[in-house]
C-alpha cells in the first residue's frame, strides 16, 4: 500500500508540469510524513484522514506544488497502536527523512511520537483530540482538532443557557470517554452546574439501562450528558428512549457522524451536541467565513469517495493546509523556520473553525469553532 502511494505520487510528479525555475534543488520534492490509524479500532479516524491527505497532496501537485516543488507523501498505518506509531515515527525521521510530520489519529499514538519529534526537532501537526497534546505547550507539536475540554465547555454553556443546574454524566470507561469525563468534571464548576450522578459503561457493553435507571432515580436530574464514541453512545441513546427518561440528552462531538443517527434511529430525536460547522455547511450563516471552506471540502470529499464526510477528514485537511501555508511562508523547508511559521498561523479558516496560533496556544481554536446542533428527524439542525 505504502509503495502504491509512493508510486502514485511519483507518477503524479512525472506527469505534472515541471517548474519553470527548473533548478536541481527545485525538482526535489518536499517530503511530508504521516502515521495514521487507517486500520484497527480507530480506523474510523485514520481512514478518512489518510484518504484526505492523499487526495489533497495529489491536488496540490497537479497545481504545481509548493515553492515550485512537488509534495511527496509517505503514509504508514499504525493500526492504533502506540508502539507502532513510535516505530513509524522513527522510520519517517531517520530513513525517510521527512521535512514535516502529520499524524497521530489518536491521542495515544500522538503522545508516543511526541518525545521522538521533540528530540529530532521536526515540525509535527497532530490530528488527535486530547488536550494534553498541546498543554503544556511543546515547542514542535501542534494540533488541529478541538479538544474534549472545549466540547464539555460548549455543552455546559448550552445547559446553563437553558437553566439546568443539576445534570448527570454517563461516560465510556476508556480513552476518549474517560478523558472527556475528567475534563468535564474540571470545567463544570465554571458554569454553576452540579454533577449529581456520575456513571460509566464499558465500550462494548450491550446494555446500559442499569446505569440509566440509577440516573433516573437520582433526585433533581435535569439533563444527561454522555461522553463517548463508537456504538456506546448509540446504545445509551436507545436505552434512554426505552426508559422514557423525560429529560434532554446531550452528546459529545464524538458522535458527530451520520453513523450515530443510522444506528440509534429515531431515538436520536432531540439529542443535542457540539459539532464543527462541517456537519451543517448549508445551515451556516452566509456571513460565516467558514461556510465556503466547509461547503467546498464536503463537496470535494463526497464526490471523490462517495461517502459522507466526517469531521476527522476535516482535521487532516486543516493539518495539511496549515503545513503547506507555513512552508510557503517560510520559503524553504528549514525546520526551524517552518515551525515558527506554523506558530504564526493566524486567521486561517479551516473545517474546524478559525485557527490563530500563538507561542502559548498550539491549537488556536476558540469555543466559537463549535456549534450546538440538535438532531431532528434524523437530520442535523443548527441550534446555537
Amino acid at each position: 500500500m505504502r509503495d502504491l502511494v509512493k508510486w502514485g505520487v511519483v507518477a503524479v510528479v512525472a506527469t505534472g508540469v515541471c517548474s519553470s525555475a527548473g533548478t536541481a534543488s527545485a525538482a526535489e520534492p518536499i517530503k511530508i510524513g504521516a502515521f495514521l490509524s487507517a486500520t484497527g479500532p480507530a480506523s474510523f479516524l485514520g481512514e478518512p484522514e489518510k484518504k484526505t491527505l492523499e487526495m489533497y497532496v495529489e491536488k496540490v501537485n497537479k497545481a504545481g506544488g509548493v515553492l515550485g516543488r512537488k509534495i511527496e507523501l509517505v503514509v504508514y498505518d499504525d493500526g492504533g497502536a502506540g508502539d507502532k506509531a513510535s516505530t513509524f515515527t522513527k522510520r519517517l525521521i531517520e530513513s525517510d527523512k521527512v521535512d514535516l510530520l502529520i499524524g497521530g489519529s489518536t491521542t495515544g499514538t500522538t503522545m508516543a511520537a511526541v518525545p521522538l519529534v521533540e528530540r529530532a526537532q521536526l515540525p509535527f501537526i497532530s490530528l488527535a483530540g486530547g488536550v494534553n497534546i498541546v498543554e503544556p505547550v511543546k515547542k514542535w507539536v501542534f494540533k488541529t482538532p478541538h479538544t474534549d475540554r472545549m466540547a464539555a465547555e460548549k455543552v455546559f454553556a448550552d445547559m446553563k443557557k437553558k437553566g439546568f443546574t443539576k445534570v448527570a454524566l454517563i461516560s465510556e470507561d476508556a480513552g476518549f470517554g474517560k478523558s472527556g469525563h475528567d475534563q468535564s468534571l474540571m470545567v463544570v464548576k465554571n458554569y454553576g452546574i452540579e454533577i449529581v450522578a456520575d456513571e460509566v459503561y464499558s465500550p462494548k457493553d450491550p446494555d446500559v439501562t442499569a446505569q440509566l435507571t440509577k440516573i433516573k432515580n437520582s433526585p433533581g436530574v435535569q439533563a444527561v450528558f454522555n461522553f463517548g464514541f463508537g456504538q456506546g453512545p448509540a446504545i445509551v441513546t436507545k436505552n434512554f428512549k426505552q426508559l422514557g427518561m423525560g429529560v434532554p440528552l446531550f452528546q459529545s462531538h464524538g458522535v458527530a457522524s451520520k453513523d450515530y443517527i443510522k444506528l440509534a434511529g429515531d431515538a436520536t430525536d432531540g439529542v443535542r451536541l457540539p459539532a464543527a460547522g462541517l456537519v451543517v455547511p448549508e445551515q451556516l450563516a452566509a456571513t460565516d467565513p467558514q461556510k465556503p471552506v466547509v461547503s467546498a471540502f464536503k463537496k470535494e470529499y463526497e464526490t471523490a469517495f462517495k461517502s459522507d464526510v466526517s469531521t476527522f477528514a476535516g482535521h487532516a485537511y486543516d493539518g495539511l493546509q496549515i503545513a503547506l501555508a507555513a512552508i510557503a511562508r517560510a520559503g524553504s523547508v528549514d525546520k526551524e523556520k517552518v515551525r515558527d511559521e506554523i506558530e504564526k498561523t493566524s486567521g486561517y479558516v479551516g473545517t474546524g473553525g478559525m485557527v490563530s496560533m500563538t507561542p502559548t496556544d498550539h491549537m488556536g481554536l476558540s469555543l466559537s469553532a463549535f456549534h450546538m446542533v440538535e438532531i431532528r428527524k434524523g437530520e442535523w439542525v443548527l441550534s446555537d
Binding site: 474510523f44 470507561d173 459503561y201 446500559v208 435507571t213 440509577k214
Partner: protein, 291 residues
C-alpha cells in the same frame, strides 16, 4: 424501589442472554473435540455483519437471515477443512492456537469484505418498549431469550435423540473407540464446526438489533461467551446458559447498587470464586484422569 430492581434484572437478563448464546457455541465444539474454538466470536460477527449488510442492500429480512446462516456455516466448514483437519494429529493446544489465528484472519477479512463501520438490523418486532410493573423491556430482548431457549432444547434433542448427535458425544468421550464402532470421526468434527458456526450466526443475528455489530464485535462477545461457558462448565449447554445469565445479572446489579465502574470486576470475581471451589464450573463433569 422494586421497579428499579426489576429494571436492573431486565438489563442483566438482556446482556446475560446475549452472553449465553455466545457461550453455547463454545460448548458444542468442546463437546466434540475438546477444542476451545476462539474463533467462535467471529462466527457471531459474521452472522451479524452478513445479515445487516444484506438487509441494508435491500434483501428481505428472512432471506438475509437465512443467507447469513449459510455463509457462516460455510465459513465454519472451511475453517475445519483447511485449518483444523490438516492439523488433526496435533495437540489440542495447537489446535486452539490455530483457532486464535483463524479469528484474527476472519476479523481482517471482514474489514476488507465489509467495512469498519458499525451496522445495525431493524428489531424483529418493533421498538416499542414493553412496560412491566414500572420497568421496561425491549421486544428484541424477548427474541434473544426465546432463541436461546429454542436452541438449548434443539441441542438437547440433537445430542440425546439423534444418531448423529450421539456419535458426536461418543467421539468426544473416546475418539478411537468411536472410530472402531464405525463413527465417521472426520465427519463429526466437520459437523460440529458447521453447527457451532450456525449457532454463532443465529446469536449474532438476534443480538445485532440490540448491540450493533462491526468487524471486531466478535472479540467482546467471544470473551463474555467464553466466560459464560467456563462458569457453567465447559461442554455443558445448559451450563453455558446459566453462566451467561449469572454474568449478565451480576454486572447489572453491580452497576445498579454498587458502582458501574466496578461492574466488570465484580463479574470476574464471581467467576474466579466459583472456579476456585468448583474447578469444572457449575455443571461441569468432574474429571478423573487415570495416570
Amino acid at each position: 424501589m422494586f421497579a428499579a430492581f426489576l429494571q436492573y434484572l431486565f438489563s442483566g437478563l438482556t446482556s446475560g442472554a446475549i452472553y449465553a448464546l455466545a457461550g453455547l457455541g463454545f460448548a458444542i465444539i468442546y463437546n466434540a473435540s475438546h477444542v476451545i474454538n476462539f474463533a467462535q466470536g467471529e462466527f457471531i460477527m459474521i452472522g451479524g455483519m452478513a445479515s445487516a449488510t444484506l438487509v441494508a442492500a435491500g434483501v428481505p429480512m428472512p432471506l438475509a437471515i437465512t443467507l447469513a446462516m449459510i455463509i457462516s456455516m460455510a465459513v465454519g466448514v472451511a475453517l475445519e477443512k483447511f485449518a483444523i483437519e490438516p492439523a488433526r494429529n496435533a495437540d489440542v493446544v495447537t489446535i486452539i492456537i490455530i483457532t486464535i489465528g483463524a479469528s484474527i484472519f476472519m476479523r481482517g477479512a471482514a474489514q476488507i469484505i465489509w467495512d469498519k463501520e458499525f451496522h445495525s438490523l431493524p428489531a424483529f418486532s418493533g421498538e416499542i418498549p414493553i412496560a412491566v410493573l414500572g420497568a421496561t423491556l425491549m421486544p428484541q430482548s424477548l427474541w434473544v431469550f426465546g432463541v436461546a431457549a429454542v436452541v438449548i432444547v434443539a441441542l438437547w434433542w440433537f445430542f440425546n435423540r439423534t444418531m448423529f448427535g450421539k456419535a458426536m458425544l461418543a467421539t468426544s468421550h473416546n475418539r478411537l473407540a468411536a472410530q472402531l464402532v464405525g463413527v465417521g470421526v472426520k465427519k463429526v468434527l466437520l459437523a460440529s464446526f458447521a453447527l457451532s458456526a450456525l449457532l454463532g450466526a443465529v446469536g449474532g443475528i438476534v443480538v445485532t438489533p440490540i448491540t450493533f455489530t462491526n468487524y471486531e464485535a466478535g472479540i467482546m462477545l467471544g470473551l463474555k461467551g467464553f466466560s459464560a461457558a467456563v462458569l457453567g462448565g465447559l461442554g455443558n449447554g445448559g451450563g453455558a446458559i446459566v453462566g451467561g445469565l449469572i454474568v449478565g445479572i451480576a454486572e447489572a446489579l453491580a452497576s445498579g447498587y454498587l458502582s458501574s465502574a466496578y461492574k466488570d470486576a465484580i463479574a470476574f470475581v464471581i467467576i474466579l470464586f466459583v472456579l476456585f471451589f468448583m474447578p469444572n464450573g457449575l455443571f461441569g463433569k468432574r474429571g478423573t484422569d487415570r495416570v
